[in-house]
């Protein structure tokens, strides 16, 4: 009897810990081969046949299609530069330059990957439409209230995610050799 209960307890513990670990890794986004630059993280291998089992399980669960390695690479930011979660009620300044790419797009999503409703119907910028300074640098204002210049509305959602996609870029293709590639800074200015 004692043996039976011990075995039962062991199996229950194994199932709980095993399933818990799976749930944690799939919801927290654990994947190998991450390339982190400032607030931005990309998984260049996820766009190729070398994708790891965790990333495969994550995309199967969420239903997204990763950017193919021959197409480009996607950088995700869930936090600002000092690791505070991105809050739609705050104003952020994104500034700097980007790694070499023929085109890039910057898009704002909610944590589930849905676009965020706003009056302008603006969900991002492309490298072609962004307003730049004379030296090629640019700043994007992300926040709930309208700003002059490049304003990306965050709709006041509790949490948001920024995705920077570089298309036709040597990053990722060149085996992560461009690790020092500059990515724009994400700085929180004020919160309402």
């Amino acid at each position: 009897m004692r043996l039976f209960f011990s075995a039962l307890l062991t199996l229950l513990l194994a199932a709980a810990v095993g399933l818990g670990a799976t749930w944690l890794t799939l919801t927290r986004g654990v994947a190998f081969g991450a390339l982190t630059i400032g607030a931005w993280t990309a998984w260049p291998k996820s766009g190729s046949i070398d994708i790891d089992p965790y990333a495969r399980a994550i995309i199967a669960r969420t239903g997204e299609l990763p950017v193919g390695a021959g197409d480009g690479v996607a950088f995700y930011a869930h936090t600002d530069d000092i690791r505070n979660p991105l809050d739609g009620r705050c104003t952020y300044l994104i500034s700097g330059i980007t790694p070499a790419a023929r085109y890039w797009t910057l898009t704002l999503y909610d944590p589930h990957g849905r676009l965020v409703a706003n009056t302008l119907d603006r969900h991002g910028f492309s490298s072609a439409e962004i307003v730049r300074e004379a030296n090629g640098r640019f700043t994007v204002n992300v926040g709930p209230r309208a700003r002059a210049g490049n304003w990306l509305p965050s709709g006041g959602v509790e949490q948001f995610v920024l995705v920077w996609r570089l298309y036709d870029t040597p990053i990722g293709v060149a085996q992560l050799t461009t690790k020092e590639g500059p990515m724009p800074a994400v700085a929180r200015k004020s919160c309402s």
Binding site: S6, L9, T10, L11, L13, A14, A15, A16, V17, G18, L19, A21, T22, T25, L26, G47, S48, I49, I51, P53, Y54, R56, A57, I59, A60, R61, T62, G63, E64, L65, P66, V67, G68, A69, G70, D71, G72, A74, R102, Y103, T105, T107, Y109, H112, G113, R114, L115, V116, A117, N118, H123, G124, S126, S127, A128, E129, V163, R165, Y167, D168
Partner: protein, 186 residues
């Protein structure tokens, strides 16, 4: 009895590891909301279908890039190879190939294609082996892609550098073609 407790715990942890790894590995085949399943409800097989642009209310898949016009060819190579031809739009056009389980196994963009259109043949490794060799040589500029799975997705993406140019990008991906080409002897 006290000696046995660590053994039970060790056993539980080992089992937990097996449960964890097997559930992670089984996820791609167990998922019912993966990209292929979502698109299976919207698209016929072996035809290019433009996807509605993502909006805050609705999107076919999460994390779609709203700056792109997207069309999908959900393919099944059971009855032959696929001939794909995608005209290039003005700005940037790419074609990405995914397996049934959303693994991007090949991607090509307009610059790599180099011509006015991206044209290629998609087949299984077995079908590729059946292609006569001389045909392979004479058609040196014919790009042949091998699909690791019988079924999968071809995703055509054309960039609209600004929202006003979206109609051009949409027209480009919508005029792409993906046709099944019965193999000789089939």
């Amino acid at each position: 009895m006290m000696l046995r407790l660590p053994l039970w715990i060790l056993g539980a942890l080992l089992l937990a590891g097996i449960v964890h790894l097997s559930t992670v590995l089984a996820m791609p085949n167990a998922a019912t909301q993966d990209a292929y399943s979502r698109l299976a409800q919207l698209t016929p097989i072996n035809a290019v279908v433009p996807l509605p642009p993502p909006s805050a209310q609705d999107a076919t898949m999460p994390f779609m890039d709203p700056a792109f016009a997207v069309a999908v060819c959900r393919y099944d190579l059971s009855s032959g190879a696929i001939k794909l031809s995608a005209p290039l739009s003005q700005a940037y056009t790419s074609v990405t190939f995914y397996t049934r389980n959303s693994v991007a196994y090949y991607a090509i963009n307009d610059r790599a294609a180099g011509r006015r259109a991206i044209e290629l043949d998609l087949m299984t490794p077995e079908q590729h082996a059946q292609v006569p060799e001389e045909e392979d040589v004479t058609a040196a500029d014919r790009l042949i892609i091998e699909s690791p799975t019988r079924r999968g997705l071809i995703v055509l993406r054309a960039l609209a550098p600004e929202p006003g140019l979206m109609f051009i990008a949409r027209r480009a991906v919508a005029s792409a073609q993906c046709r099944i080409e019965p193999l000789p002897g089939q």
